[in-house]
């Protein structure tokens, strides 16, 4: 069972996205609408903000199998890898770094396969004095709602964020 739509690459589209997800949520059942909407909204906003190619559409594919697999394409060259390494550079494999740091949670990004960036949350003993972050919370919230979150670099195809819930 696949739900596929593409949206122009701008923030105003989050309204149309939310309406579409209302029907999808009815058919999907395993996740409430407001969570499904939030997770995909966050990924969509990121794709708009950080994607470079502004006339490319953003394609959203929701596949209901055992798990719910959500794919949001990214019209840009995707996440920057530290030291300006390419995600296909053998030397970059195994590299992991801290993408966002909150009081007691870090988002760790790790380049596993030559084109796969996987994200995970690492809880740390709360160091309260750390300034409360105003942004950089999008991936934290997706990670909390998802079983698995990864970003895939695919040459000559759309890069995409892949969320399993």
């Amino acid at each position: 069972m696949l739900f596929i739509r593409s949206f122009p690459n701008n923030l105003v589209q989050t309204e149309a996205l939310a309406e579409w997800l209302q029907e999808v949520a009815v058919a999907v059942e395993t996740i409430p609408y407001h969570k499904l909407r939030f997770v995909i909204h966050e990924a969509f906003v990121n794709a708009c903000k950080y994607g470079h190619d502004h006339n490319a559409n953003i394609v959203v594919v929701i596949r209901k199998h055992e798990d719910l697999e959500i794919t949001i394409t990214d019209p840009g060259n995707g996440f920057e890898i530290p030291n300006a390494l390419s995600p296909f550079d053998a030397g970059a494999i195994g590299l992991s770094w801290n993408l966002a740091r909150d009081r007691d949670t870090n988002v760790i990004a790790e380049l596993r396969a030559p084109n796969t960036l996987s994200f995970s949350l690492r809880q740390e003993k709360g160091h309260q004095e750390v300034e409360l972050m105003e942004n950089h919370r999008g991936l934290i919230s997706i990670l909390k709602a998802a079983k698995n979150l990864s970003y895939h670099f695919v040459p000559n195809s759309f890069n995409y964020l892949h969320i399993t819930c």
């Binding site: 407001h34 909407r37 939030f38 919230s141």
Partner: protein, 116 residues
Amino acid sequence: MTQFVRLDTFPEYAIISFQGVSNLDANSALRVKAEMKGLIDEQVSNVLIDLSNVSFIDSTGFGTLISVLKTIKNKNGKLILVGVSPEVQELMDLMQLLNVFELAPDTKSALVQLNA
């Protein structure tokens, strides 16, 4: 341009409420932040934000609420979010913000909490 945000000031506190915007997200958050910051800067310290008309808040929207929280804390004021729906509370949990904001089901109980 209609205001997104309305301010009602009382001796001990002020109430900020939303009109004409039910999504506090990347589209509306910048304007809401500017309007709120403008309203709060006068000698207001305790603030209630009535979110009962807000059905969706994204990470940018929460970022706006966090920056308001910081402004108020710097003035040793108190911020209470009023009428937050169960769904938005779940989103708050995803954002790891449940222990950051003080919530109250309605204005009456928010006022009790203010003076507690």
